[in-house]
Amino acid sequence: MRLSLQRFTKRFGETVVVDGLDLEVADGEMLALLGPSGCGKSTTLFAICGIHRVDGGRILFGDRDVTDLPAQERKVGIVFQNYALYPHMTVAQNIAFPLRVAQMPRAQMERKVEDIARLVHIGELLERRPAHLSGGQQQRVALARALVREPDILLLDEPLANLDAKLRMEMRAEIRRVQSETGTTAILVTHDQVEAMSMCDRIALMNGGRIVQLDAPAAMYERPVDLFVAGFLGNPPISFVKGAPNGGGVQLDNGQMIGAARLAQAGPVTLGIRPEHFGPQFGRGLSGEVTMRETHGREDLVAVRLQGGGQLRAILPAGNGVKPGDAVDWGVAADRILAFAADGRRL
């Protein structure tokens, strides 16, 4: 079901946590609310759920205004970071709880529990108690419980944060699969960009209670609207160097030149260079010294201190032979450089 927030505002006491936020989520879409802690993403999620009272604006599920409805009347399913399973109930009882509250006939209830358990692959765990399940299994149960009464909106609050790295990858795909198969509109709150990018159709990147950019993951990565978005997305992160247009390129503050004719007309700029766009494969032009090398297995992350100041990072294939202390002269992919004006917006 389509979800829209219109001028949604939330205050805690004097502090405005979310200020006039507009957001449209299409039916069946999965959208990530991504941002650093304290950016208002969880607040927004809890307001959609009905846990937080709304201080301004409206929340609509489809055409239904739910702004003043309590959580019970909203038909949302929610999965928490700690799963919040009911410890005294078996898996089957956990999943059946929303149906029991809705006073569904017993036979129908059992069928639905079995169906959803099969969907999330926990059919054989129904008689267990949550304490006897692994983290990934608990996660699946929480997902099943959230989905069993076919909610209008599925809310996921940092659902993968408590899982180890391997399980996290597996559950990323699983959650996405279940969400697509049920066609449920979903909101994922996370501070993990990889989660947001890999699981969601679109990302709403939030900062300071506002949505800074709302875009598809690839588009946001390639065309960030400002310095914050560019710096937040990407791991290893983008590097920034300052400079000013001069002739056919940009003269950096450290005196070196980067050739980028398209920036000739701009004022002082900050250039954002992602690690994958700097290295020996792009020719020469920027000289400096290697200060650090991290082995990541398939590739190495190398930090280069530029002559005259500034630092860039590069991703190099493994076995490149670069080591700390080496003097290097590498190039950048000039057409992939991101340039930002003095106010932070991308040029």
Binding site: A71, Q72, I78, N82, H88, F97, H132, A142, L155
Partner: protein
């Protein structure tokens, strides 16, 4: 799976008590220090069934004479032991139920609801918890008299409940605090009302606390002596504790065999309750269980 997980803990609990290990010097010292107390308990049991000449250590005859209070009142104007036991049971049960009911709800409010003066309540709880409440007895006496509850069992129950509540509320709040918020949020998102969430999702997780409070306040009320003595003196004792005291109030005619028999009778339920529930009572210190 359950069994696999439970087995180690049972094994720990069933470890032989008498294996002293390297702690034997401490154990020996503790045994020596507590020996007089244990001995007195032994005499409590022995003396209630025997006769012994004045000053003798060992009894010289077996008798059920001291247990004559079971069959009828000791003197015509006194209530029977069964009336007293019934009264004491009512007193302790009502106190336990009232304290538990109020603790259960008040502690939830203090733990979860953003209510006015919450901090003041919490502060007050701690103060009252540590406060020697018996110093309030004069004020309580005046209040009871004002409301016409002086010298009634209900008045004593009221006061006993009031005195037990800070402890109960404080303990229950500790149990509620261990229940994750998210469980309640999930319950409400699942469509359950706040009350239903409390009843079906939160209460089962504070059950150990509830059990502990019930037992503790029952035992505390069962052994309460000062409150009924001061607030319901009456002509005849109404509770076992005051009855027991009345047996030795006149030292010249005190019958210590009888006193010990009644004392044993009075202590029996406490021992039984403790034996049955001691595991649950220990919960109060662990503050919650894992599901």
């Amino acid at each position: 799976m359950t069994d696999v997980l439970d087995r180690p803990s049972r094994a720990v609990l069933r470890r032989p008590v008498l294996r002293l290990g390297p702690n034997w010097p401490i154990v020996t010292i503790l045994v020596l220090i507590s020996a007089p107390l244990v001995l007195m308990y032994v005499y409590l049991v022995v003396d209630s069934f025997t006769t012994s000449p004045a000053g003798a250590i060992l009894p010289d005859g077996v008798t059920l004479q001291h247990w004559r209070f079971l069959t009828g009142p000791l003197s015509p104007n006194q209530p029977t032991i069964w009336t007293l036991t019934f009264n004491t049971f009512v007193f302790a049960s009502v106190t336990a139920l009232v304290v538990s009911a109020i603790s259960l709800t008040a502690a939830y409010a203090l733990s979860r609801l953003d209510m006015p003066a919450r901090r003041m309540f919490l502060g007050g709880l701690i103060v009252l918890h540590a406060f020697p409440t018996v110093t309030l007895i004069v004020a309580v006496f005046l209040i009871l008299q004002y409301f016409g509850l002086y010298d009634t069992l209900w008045g004593v129950i009221l006061v006993k409940c009031a005195f037990e509540l800070p402890f109960g509320v404080w303990i229950m709040k500790g149990f509620y605090d261990t229940v994750p918020w998210e469980i309640e949020m999930a319950g409400m998102a699942d469509g359950a009302s706040r009350a239903r969430v409390w009843w079906e999702l939160v209460l089962p997780q504070v059950n150990p606390g509830l059990a502990a409070i019930l037992i503790f306040s029952f035992l505390s009320a069962w052994s309460e002596f000062v409150l009924p003595l001061v607030l319901a003196p009456g002509n005849a004792p109404q509770l076992l504790s005051t009855y027991l005291a009345s047996l030795v109030s006149d030292v010249t005619r005190a019958d210590f065999g009888l006193y010990k028999a009644v004392g044993l009778f009075y202590a029996l339920p406490v021992i039984v309750v403790y034996l049955v529930f001691h595991k649950r009572l220990l919960n109060i210190y662990s503050g919650g269980t894992k599901g």
